[in-house]
Structures are given as structure tokens and as C-alpha cells.
Subunit: 100 residues, 2 copies
């Protein structure tokens, strides 16, 4: 089943709990840039996120160069941001702040 | 030690053996877009490449969305393409064509 796009109010509430995430200019995606100490830590984070993404059946768009991972979350089928993006963003925050 | 940028002749020879890779317009990087059946296979490929990258101590710039992995290889320290990029490109080709 297709998820509904979040309303402006739902989105505002959700983003208040995700202060490190930014709304993309077209308001159809949220983005965050994660920084780590090195490639090894950046890719360990990506691996954990990949497993979560498979479990949630919702996948990030992401760019990695060395210790940096730039993430964009959107729900293509719904043409915007849904609860799945908020779930994945929250899970990625947790994964990034876990001690090694 | 910093690797030397490949000469135009060396680069031409190297790229002749990497027909799926394209020279970026500024000639300072090579790029290839890999396609897989799904995210799982795309990320399995990325994981294998990440291990190789650590071993070679040379890392890709890459973007992933679902089953697609867009790769850019360059040697920042040398300001262009070196033998390390050719080595990593060759290894990534092998990793992408391995049977599951």
C-alpha cells in the first residue's frame, strides 16, 4: 500500500524531532550530511543503515566520499515525504551516534 | 608517497581495458554507473568494494539509489587519475560481474 505524504503540520512536528535534517527546497525530501572519523566508520554506518533499510523496505539515496555520507530521503511512490522517511531518518540518527 | 598523474598515453591505454568507464569532462576522474537487480545486490557490491578500498587505501566517491551505484574515481592528492584509480576500477568491475 502506498503511504500518504505527510501534511505540512505532520512534517513540521516530525522535523522538530530531527533538528539535524533539512527540508529540501522542493519540500519533497529531507537531507542530512553525516561526518565520521574515516572511511571505515562511514561505511560501518552505511552497512547498519543498509540492513535497516532492507528491514523497513525503504531505501536512502546517498553519496559517500571518504568520511562523509550525504543522505536524501523521499518516498518516490508517494511523491514526497512519508512516515517511512521519518522512521528511516530516526534510525539513521541512532546508528550514527552509537559508540563503536 | 604521492602517485603521479597518468600521462595522456598511459590513460588512453588504461581506459582501453575499461570500456565501461568514461573519462569525466575535466579529465580528472573516471566514472561508471553500475546497475543491479535490487538494493541488496547493489549494497553487496558496495560492501565488497569498501573492503577492497580499505586494502588499496584508495576510496571511491559513490552515489547509490536502490539498485544503482554511480562511481567516480580520482586521486585528490594528485589532482587527477593515477594507477590507483585504474586498480580500483578494475577491481570494481570484477566485483560487479561475480556470480552471487
Amino acid at each position: 500500500m502506498r503511504d500518504a505524504k505527510l501534511s505540512t503540520e505532520e512534517l513540521t512536528q516530525a522535523l522538530a524531532k530531527l533538528p539535524d535534517w533539512a527540508l529540501r527546497e522542493d519540500e519533497a525530501a529531507i537531507t542530512r550530511s553525516f561526518r565520521f572519523a574515516n572511511f571505515r566508520q562511514a561505511f560501518a554506518f552505511m552497512t547498519e543503515c543498509a540492513l535497516m533499510a532492507e528491514k523497513l523496505d525503504h531505501h536512502p539515496e546517498w553519496f559517500n566520499v571518504y568520511s562523509r555520507v550525504d543522505v536524501t530521503l523521499t518516498t518516490h511512490d508517494s511523491g514526497g515525504i512519508t512516515r517511512r522517511d521519518i522512521e528511516l531518518a530516526t534510525a539513521m540518527n541512532r546508528a550514527s551516534s552509537r559508540p563503536d
